[in-house]
């Protein structure tokens, strides 16, 4: 039996809307390294799910997220995102993939010379959206993240929590199917962090799949969402309504 046919039996439709992210026996070893950054990860995250990705530094969280963004290709196995086999995606198709994924980082990554409005609008401008749409959608999104009155501020005039809200607005403004957050509360104090995670939860309730890598035990324990724990590149726990530690 040929390999694709076998595959079709196990996953009748890998492009189904149910599995929005699917890792199929995925391993990743970086060039020039012997130890695998990820080894034999096999899991799927369904549409509309909220999943925490936990583990110590170097456990493979970042690699996991970067494989979803197709910043890297897996060394072994396949990664499906939004119905596309990323190992078969052509490089010219990448922008289309990325438009379906919003990304938030620990260090916000806002453009310092642009106002809050311009930072959010930038994400739409550069994918060729009309000025009319931008004028409508950006204020809406700023309102959603609670910054309706700060559109003309520069990032440096905002607190860390506010800056992260801008980054979330930018990631969400195009209404992606998936939102990836890599330690979004890593630079924030606990009270602010809770606000950020509540915002992500709210976005998740609007039917966006959220994957959040974090070190923050309090938040994970509070939210009681799915917890995927990685250790030294291996999957050690995948628990619905989990907590940070055992």
């Amino acid at each position: 039996m040929t390999e694709p046919a076998e595959h079709a039996q196990i996953f009748p439709n890998p492009g189904s809307t149910v599995d929005v992210i699917r890792f199929e026996n995925v391993s990743k070893t970086y060039k020039g390294q012997t130890r695998a950054a990820l080894s034999d990860i096999d899991l799927s995250i369904e549409k509309g799910e909220f999943a925490f990705l936990v583990g110590t530094s170097g456990s493979g969280k970042s690699t996991f997220l970067r494989l979803i963004l197709r910043e890297y290709l897996p060394s072994k196995g396949r990664v499906y995102v939004a119905g596309k086999d990323l190992t078969r995606l052509r490089s010219w198709q990448l922008p289309q993939l990325r438009r379906q994924i919003g990304t938030v980082f620990q260090d916000f990554r806002l453009l310092p010379g642009k106002t809050v409005f311009e930072n959010v609008a930038f994400a739409l401008q550069v994918i060729g959206k009309s000025q009319g749409l931008i004028k409508r959608v950006v204020p809406e999104t700023l309102e959603l993240v609670g910054l309706a009155d700060k559109g003309d501020r520069l990032p440096e005039e905002l607190s860390g929590g506010e800056q992260q809200r801008v980054a979330i607005a930018r990631a969400f403004v195009n209404r992606p199917k998936i939102l990836i957050a890599d330690e979004p509360t890593g630079n924030l104090d606990p009270a602010t962090s809770v606000g950020i995670v509540r915002l992500l939860d709210q976005i998740n309730k609007a039917n966006t799949t959220v994957v959040m890598a974090t070190h923050d035990a309090t938040i994970v324990n509070q939210m009681r969402k799915r917890v995927i724990e990685l250790d030294k590149g291996g999957l050690v726990r995948d628990q619905a309504k989990g907590v940070y530690g055992y």
Partner: protein
């Protein structure tokens, strides 16, 4: 599109000195390149014209010839003349053969030197019988020369190539030198554009990073850089074309054509062709380094 244009102009403003450097390098190197092209055209024009008129003259023996092909004290015999003419006519490189007798040559000589005191000292017997040969291809002459120069009754084979070839060789070296020098300068200009673009892309790496993250196409990200270097290169092309036009107008049309009208000088059509090549080279040399310079920042 508005975003792209805004980015292009802010880029041009931000790197004014670099852009000016690119324009000047492009200008100088393209002008030199254009001069090289025109020089090549000019050499070809002159060569065609001169070589077309070249015939090989085969001078036959006279009484006091000392050449070993000649019998002392007598002119070339009719039998030898026939043999030489037959050999010439049989040669595939020969287009036509004329016989010019002493008497005919004397008439010609008298016409040429009508006002000269030399004429008084010359007689018809100092002239020589000769064959004049027209070639199929003026550049292919060695075959004929070697075929007849050893024949009995031939005193001397004279062809102008031996005088013209060194001239054209030097002209060729000069034009190769111009083109080579302009090639070096053009490479420098291309590298300069590559560097400028890489620096500009580096200074905008945050924006580029975010553009890639939110799914802007590579084409969209690259376009401002491409337009920027294209505009700089086009400015260089325009200046270089202007320089060539000035050269044609002020040196060729106004001076050279007036002072040396007997030579075929390059004209506006040739200048236009050269300008077209400047445009092609300018565009290629700005687009390719830009693509290479930004590629690193667009890698996924």
């Amino acid at each position: 599109m508005r975003h792209v244009l805004r980015e292009t102009f802010s880029g041009l403003k931000r790197n004014t000195s670099m852009v000016l450097a690119v324009i000047v390098t492009m200008w100088v190197s393209l002008t030199l390149f254009g001069i090289g092209l025109l020089a090549a055209e000019q050499v070809d024009l002159v060569k065609d014209r001169w070589y077309d008129r070249i015939e090989i003259s085969i001078f036959l023996c006279v009484k006091d010839s000392t050449n070993s092909n000649c019998e002392t004290g007598v002119d070339t015999s009719q039998a030898d003349k026939d043999a030489i003419e037959a050999a010439l006519r049989a040669n595939p490189e020969v287009a036509d053969v004329f016989y010019e007798s002493k008497a005919e040559m004397w008439e010609e000589f008298k016409k040429l030197y009508a006002d000269s005191p030399i004429l008084a000292e010359m007689t018809v017997d100092q002239m020589q019988d000769s064959f004049r040969v027209k070639l199929v291809n003026p550049e292919e002459y060695m075959g004929v020369v070697t075929a007849v120069s050893g024949m009995k009754g031939v005193e001397k084979v004279q062809d102008l190539h031996q005088y013209l070839d060194p001239v054209f060789n030097w002209l060729n070296i000069a034009r190769m030198g111009t083109l080579g020098l302009s090639a070096l300068l053009l490479i420098a200009a291309a590298l300069q554009i590559g560097n400028t673009v890489a620096l500009a892309a580096f200074s905008r790496r945050r924006e580029i990073g975010i553009m890639r993250l939110v799914g802007a196409s590579n084409w969209y990200i690259m376009l401002p850089f491409l337009l920027e270097s294209l505009l700089a290169a086009l400015a260089g092309v325009v200046l270089a074309c202007g320089s060539l036009a000035a050269l044609e107008k002020f040196i060729i049309v106004d001076r050279a054509k007036e002072e040396l009208p007997s030579i075929n000088w390059i004209d506006w059509p040739q200048v236009q062709v050269s300008m077209f090549w400047l445009l092609v080279v300018g565009v290629v040399l700005s687009v390719i380094p830009t693509i290479i310079g930004t590629r690193r920042f667009l890698k996924v």
